[in-house]
Amino acid sequence: MSGSKEMRFPKLRQRLYSVWYRHMRVYTKHLFSNGFPPFLEPLIFLWGIGLGLGQFIAPINGQPYLVYLSIGLLVTSAMWTSSFECTFGTFIRMEFEKVYDGMLAAPITAENLILGEMFWAGSKGFFFSLAVLIVVGLFGKLPMPGSLAAPLIGFATAFMFGALGLLVTSFVKTINHFNFYMTGLISPMFFFSGVVFPVESLPKKVQWLAELVPLTHCVRIMRFIAALHWDSVILWDAAYVIVFTLIVGFFATKRLKKRLIT
């Protein structure tokens, strides 16, 4: 068979973009119900912690508790959204809605689809961090201009947790199993990774555990950048995030592909 048409399948960039675009289109279909909560959540925190709990807590490292917590929330909002997106969301698309069956009949590969999921998760992280930045920033509770980097850190955080979520999804047989991941790993990370209190306050014996999990590194990077403060430990954190994302992303792609291409 000859002809030129076959060689004109879209380039890699376009293929990834079409996966991303599909998710964006479906997500923004319900702009209000999907777009409102990311703004509401930081408000609830501001009121609940700021007006309530915060008054009873001493400043941490010279920062009012509300400011300390808010910097952490810039990052955790990205973690939460991408973790849900790439576990429950991906599983539903794969097993219930059969969305991937349709997408994989189009000229994209399974690898394109999986990488596209990660970019989409990253983008949602960007948006959720931005929402926290806007709300808390408007109340003047974030150090400026350093905190303006939050959406970028949010993107990296969400991309990484997206990859991790996809890896978990590649093992999961029924949707209820995600509860173990959410309650067993994501929730503890929220509490013990330097978001609600400094890692240094943990007993010495378990501090290495905090150093082991990914969220700690994202939060630390965010804190340093927010304070416009340089410390060489950032290099370790950045290296961790990059290497973790590459390794987990590689295995997530490999394993999930096996599930999509039988």
Partner: protein, 310 residues
């Protein structure tokens, strides 16, 4: 001689201990409608999935599969770009409406939006869905969803259209409408592959077909040829043999073959007269004399008993 659109030789697929497709070899020519006919679990869908790289075939030195000259495992993008797939299960985006579904999908082909709009409207008209342009997917009937899935498969003007049970579960009106549209596409030069377990559908649409059973090619040919070569021209169906129990054990007239299942007896023969006089003896049992069709061939080939995969 033109190169075939699909060349397959010794193509197999094993899932664990189950061999879903067993060493199939065939070729599909351009402008042809080629069918895979078989009961549920025969391996039809698995086979189709191999064509667009959703399933990897078993690797062996002799095994070879080419579409447009490309191996799906190496050039899936080229193959997918030139093909349209309508899977068995409707997998439209429920959150979006009809036209949005098409426009979104056009992105995957890198189609500029003006062209996508034009093509989508053209296809909605072709499949008689123009009035449903803004309708949400969940408000569509099964037949409309199926037509929309076919429209989606046609977006990039595919040279090859892959249809997995295109009319299963649809009412006769929709089924005939879809058949009509598929025939039009074929006339315009689209090569078609379809799986079905409707004999009527295979008979109406396919130029050639393979009857599959438990992953194997049982027989291959044009529908007419399969009927002519594999079964007697006439059959007398007696649906309640117990109504005339005395006839149950009488010797069969020469040239008549009996196929017994449950209470139903089917007498096959080349001679219409022989069956007519046999039928006259069934004074109480309801009976019906007719020409044989693809379904008779199919049941003869695949057996009447259900197996564990059905």
């Amino acid at each position: 001689m033109q190169t075939p659109v699909i060349e397959a030789s010794d193509v197999s697929k094993t899932f664990g201990s189950l061999q879903a497709v067993k060493s199939l070899s065939f070729h599909v020519n351009a402008d042809e409608c080629f069918g895979f006919l078989g009961p549920n679990g025969a391996g039809k869908t698995t086979l189709l999935k191999m064509f667009y790289a959703r399933t990897a075939r078993d690797h062996s030195p002799q095994s070879r599969l080419r579409l447009f000259g490309y191996d799906p495992e190496e050039d899936e993008l080229s193959i997918k770009y030139m093909s349209g797939v309508a899977p068995q299960e409707d997998n439209l985006d429920d959150e979006l409406n009809v036209i949005q579904n098409l426009l979104l999908y056009a992105r995957f082909y890198g189609m500029p939006s003006a062209q996508a709009r034009r093509r989508a409207d053209e296809l909605l008209k072709f499949l008689e869905l123009s009035e449903k342009r803004k309708e949400l997917i969940r408000h569509l009937s099964g037949g409309m969803k199926r037509r929309l899935v076919i429209a989606r498969a046609l977006l990039n003007e595919p040279k090859l259209l892959i249809l997995d049970e295109p009319t299963t579960g649809l009412d006769p009106q929709v089924r005939h409408l879809i058949w009509d549209k598929l025939r039009q596409l074929k006339k315009q030069g689209t090569t078609m592959l379809l799986t079905t377990h409707y004999m009527e559908e295979a008979f109406q649409l396919c130029d050639r077909l393979i009857i599959m059973h438990r992953g194997e090619n049982i027989m291959e040919g044009s529908p007419r040829q399969l009927v002519a070569e594999n079964i007697e021209p006439y059959v007398l169906e007696v649906t309640d043999l117990q109504a005339n129990p005395e006839l149950r054990h009488q010797p069969l007239p020469a040239g008549v073959r009996l196929d017994l299942s449950g209470l139903t007896a089917r007498y096959y023969a080349a001679s219409f007269e022989a069956l007519k006089s046999l039928g006259d003896q069934f004074t109480r049992a309801p009976h019906f004399l007719r020409q044989t069709n693809l379904e008779d061939v199919f049941l003869k080939a695949t057996g009447r008993m259900l197996d564990e995969r059905q």
